[in-house]
């Protein structure tokens, strides 16, 4: 699958089969995440991979956006202490979100290439997840990625390309 096709055919998957995701594939997804662009080469991302039923069960409670029963999840965290030390306090929020988003897109495209479905989830209790995963205070969960084999491929939603871009200057 070429890159353009992968980008166009990836969907947010919210219904999964019971088929487990192999450890090798999960590690490959994390590796893809690590190759994402990262501000000032910070690489402050920390990935927590969840496959145990008790972990996923707790995640379904703490993350209302974690819809369906994905057999795996990747919690994209950021070491905000590292970011602050390297880039300054003012950069923490921006770098944490941007780097997590870039890593997430790499993970989701890599997963799509492997025949896996994913869904990025932003609705979760940050403090609750820190407790659950025993994260230190300076490591903060920013985004979750549900991972599994899709039960069905949703139809592509409408995309508005025309009207979303301008050459040289903006005009209504």
């Amino acid at each position: 699958m070429d890159i353009h096709q992968a980008i166009r055919t990836r969907r947010s998957i919210r219904r999964y089969t019971d088929r487990p995701v192999s450890r090798e594939d999960l590690l490959r997804l994390v590796e893809a995440g690590c190759w994402a662009p990262t501000a000032s080469n910070l690489q402050a991302w920390r990935f927590v991979i969840l496959t145990r039923p008790d972990r996923l069960r707790a995640l379904r409670v703490l993350a209302p956006g974690f819809i369906g029963r994905a057999p795996a999840a990747i919690v994209i965290c950021q070491d905000v202490g590292h970011i602050e030390q390297r880039a300054g306090a003012a950069a923490v929020d921006f770098c944490a979100k941007m780097d997590s988003a870039c890593a997430a897109q790499n993970i989701m495209l890599e997963a799509h290439g492997l025949g896996l479905g994913t869904c990025a989830v932003g609705s979760f209790e940050v403090g609750g997840l820190q407790d659950l995963l025993d994260l230190p205070e300076h490591v903060v969960p920013v985004l979750l990625i549900a991972v599994g084999y899709p039960k069905a491929q949703p139809a592509p939603p409408e995309r508005h390309i025309e009207g979303s871009y301008y050459f040289e200057d903006y005009h209504e």
Partner: protein, 97 residues
């Protein structure tokens, strides 16, 4: 408490926990997430009861319909509204049956 009752209360705790967390998150989330979380909670509740052999055909039908259409909230507001209206019609139909 029997083992099956203990398992049921564990699973119900998850549904209640989901509702509590959802309520907290919804303070800062888009308005249309509210109805979405409510029907998702309804579906989870029915699923939990069914896992413990408590249910009915009516509940099955409602849950199936929720699962079929709940993610329309990610698309157009009108489509989601129409879906919810259909769901309410189902509930009314069951009440009259």
């Amino acid at each position: 408490m029997s083992d099956s009752q203990a398992a049921l209360t564990d699973d119900l705790f998850d549904v209640v926990g989901f509702m509590v967390v959802s309520a907290h998150k919804l303070l800062d989330e888009p308005q249309h997430y509210g109805p979405f979380r409510l029907i998702d909670a309804a579906s989870r509740l029915v699923e939990t009861l069914e896992d413990h052999d408590v249910g009915s055909e009516a509940l099955d039908r409602i849950r199936e319909e929720i699962e079929r259409g709940k993610t329309t909230c990610m698309g157009s507001e009108q489509e989601f509204r129409t879906f919810l209206e259909g769901l309410v019609d189902m509930v009314v139909g069951e009440l009259k049956a």
